[in-house]
């Protein structure tokens, strides 16, 4: 791969020194550190929660996972969206390609540099979080929990790499950086917000709930009783299934599910043992197995974006000025 390492080194040092990356890194480090404090606090109040709760933060809304669900895409897209078209418009791409390198080395070098930047961001953040939480709690992760943390790190890198390759795709397809930036913002909003809204809407249209007159206090009582019926519960169940399934077209939801599985939050469910609700934590292997379909879906999405943009880039006509 002639030239790939050269492109890789240059792009990586560009990323790590760019204001864009440093701002996002600073925001994420700050919020993650705060969420580690919150997580540690939660664990103190819930001794059963275990070390991994620093990433999910318990009831508190701002956890590492939700941070990655919402802000992670921005990091990936920010590193990719103008990667190719900026060089096309500035004319440096046509200079670059007059060198004895393969055209795909340029693309691969840029992608790998983006992944490396993402990996340093995610890895750094997680290490800092552990570093903040351990002295607060007075104990660190067990060996199994460490493996979970590594799995979570890899999953997060994969998720951000998906957004990176989507950004790269936009930068190959659109000639103007403003176009690819708008496309990036649109897909980000779609993934983190719009899909959930659509899913809720579709679910409520497909499974209408029986009419519940409201008004008088007795009706409220009636309403409360109605929600306890078997029929009502099965309707709500159907609704939430539809909602989850539609939600899965969003990579953010896939990541959320996979990360929850790895941290042992999702597959656990609540088992009713002896009349008491008790949370049974699944083993690490079970968690990883449960996250597998989502991981695979994110990976396939990343691969698809990568392959399409790679092929388009190889066929790009290098005409001056675009």
């Amino acid at each position: 791969m002639a030239g790939m390492m050269t492109v890789f080194r240059k792009e990586l040092s560009d990323h790590l020194g760019s204001k864009r990356f440093l701002i996002l890194f600073a925001i994420i480090i700050l919020l993650s550190t705060l969420s580690a404090y919150q997580g540690a606090d939660y664990i103190k109040n819930n001794p059963d929660a275990g070390f991994l709760a620093i990433f999910s933060g318990g009831r508190l809304a701002f956890s590492f996972i939700s941070l990655m669900v919402y802000f992670g895409p921005l990091v990936g897209l920010a590193l990719g969206f103008d990667s190719i078209n900026k060089e096309r418009t500035s004319g440096s791409l046509s200079v670059l390609l007059t060198y004895p390198i393969f055209r795909d080395s340029v693309f691969n070098g840029k992608f790998l540099a983006g992944v490396a930047a993402i990996a340093s961001l995610v890895g750094g953040t997680i290490v800092i979080m552990c570093g903040v939480a351990t002295p607060l709690l007075g104990f660190g992760p067990t060996l199994e929990q460490m493996v979970s943390i590594v799995a979570l790190t890899l999953l997060t890198i994969l998720y951000l790499a998906f957004w990176l390759s989507l950004g790269l795709l936009f930068s190959v397809l659109a000639k103007k950086t403003s176009t690819s930036m708008l496309a990036s913002i649109a897909t980000w909003l779609f993934s983190v917000m719009i899909v959930s809204v659509i899913a809720a809407l579709v679910a409520s249209l497909m499974v209408p709930l029986p009419f519940q007159p409201l008004g008088a206090p007795e009706n409220f009582r009636g309403f409360g009783q109605a929600t306890q019926t078997e029929e009502y519960r099965s309707l709500m169940q159907a609704r939430s299934e539809i909602q989850t399934n539609i939600g899965r077209i969003s990579p953010s939801n896939l990541y959320n599910e996979a990360a929850s599985s790895i941290l042992g939050l999702r597959a656990s469910a609540f088992f009713v043992v002896g009349g008491m609700q008790q949370q049974i934590r699944p083993s690490l292997a079970q968690g990883i197995a449960a996250s597998w379909p989502q991981v695979l879906a994110i990976f396939v999405g990343m691969l698809a974006c990568f392959v399409i943009s790679y092929l388009r880039f190889l066929r790009l006509e290098i005409r001056p000025g675009g």
Binding site: A2, G3, T6, V7, K10, D14, E87, T89, S90, G91, S92, S94, V95, L96, L97, T98, Y99, P100, I101, F102, E317, I318, R319, P320, G321
Partner: protein
């Protein structure tokens, strides 16, 4: 017989329905400055892109420095430097960092690269500016950086696509002087594309004229000029102390004179063959004095326009 450094046969590039380059047969000798002349959109840039292996020809073949431009395009790019049209650099890197990056891409080892970058920056007159970010550079400086960039791999030939476009007279002169120095001091072959006749005339030993993708003439500037002269017949420029209508009529009656034109106080006398003696005798007989008499030479502009109209 000089060595051919560029040779193409039937090189053709079709974009959709537009034939950008049409059956181009081009030969460039080692050590010359070859001017590739044509109006905008005539296929100059496309030809350079094909020769550098940046775009694949629809049909036809070519060789640069002995390497096939399709099968061995990487080898071509190893020995040929190029300053593409509308070239750009990494604005947030310094001149030195930009060149260093290109040096890495050209596979130069670190020590050699550092030396070469510094030499080239001095050569193009950017020594003082080496640690300044390129975003602060003027157009002329960027273009000189571009020439340094094209030279970093120590090429056998460099392609310069419209190197002086958008430069002020000072910048144009600097770039032109650099090109001439490179050719003289390092015996570098230069392939220069331009739509500026005047520029080509001042630098190039041989020119190729391209029009709508077709190469319509290749030769030295003198030969092209002579060729036109032959077609136009013989023309002599006279400067007289006085010019009257009757004198013009008088000259027209001289045997062999086809037409007489008055142009800015000068007379252009066209004749079938060299018949200066009879014409000057007629003028003297009429009572006018000849201040200057010289055979008409064609400027490149005239040759150029002539080829443009003629071939249509």
């Amino acid at each position: 017989m000089p060595e051919r450094i560029i040779q193409t046969s039937g090189l053709t590039k079709i974009y959709g329905e537009v034939t950008a380059v049409d059956q181009l047969n081009l030969e460039v000798n080692e050590g010359e400055i070859f001017g590739f002349l044509g109006p905008n959109g005539s296929g100059k840039t496309t030809t350079i892109l094909m020769l550098m292996g940046l775009t694949t020809p629809t049909s036809g073949t070519g060789r640069v420095g002995g390497y096939d431009i399709i099968k061995n395009s990487r080898d071509v790019r190893r020995i040929a430097g190029c300053l593409p049209e509308a070239a750009g650099y990494y604005e947030d890197l310094t001149a030195k960092e930009n060149l260093d990056y290109f040096g890495q891409l050209a596979d130069l080892p670190r020590v050699k690269r550092e030396k070469r970058v510094n030499e080239l920056l001095e050569f193009v007159g950017l020594g003082k500016w080496r640690d300044v970010k390129v975003e602060k550079f003027s157009r002329g400086m960027k273009q000189r950086l571009g020439i340094a960039q094209a030279l970093i791999k120590d090429p056998k030939i460099i392609f310069l696509d419209e190197p002086t476009i958008g430069l002020d007279p000072q910048g144009t002169k600097e770039v032109r002087d650099l090109i001439l120095r490179l050719n003289r001091e390092q015996k570098l072959t230069v392939f220069l594309s331009s739509h500026l006749l005047h520029e080509v005339q001042q630098t190039c030993s041989r020119v190729g004229i391209i029009r709508q993708g077709k190469l319509i003439a290749t030769d030295t500037i003198e030969n092209l000029s002579r060729g036109i002269a032959k077609e136009e017949g013989y023309c002599v420029e006279f400067e007289l102390d006085k010019v009257t209508r009757r004198l013009i009529e008088e000259i027209k009656t001289v045997k062999g004179v086809t037409s007489v034109e008055e142009e800015g106080g000068k007379l252009l006398v066209y004749m079938e063959r060299d018949n200066r003696a009879d014409v000057s005798r007629a003028i003297t007989k009429y009572g006018a004095t000849i201040l200057l008499m010289k055979p008409r030479e064609y400027t490149l502009e005239e040759i150029f326009l002539r080829y443009y109209k003629g071939a249509g």
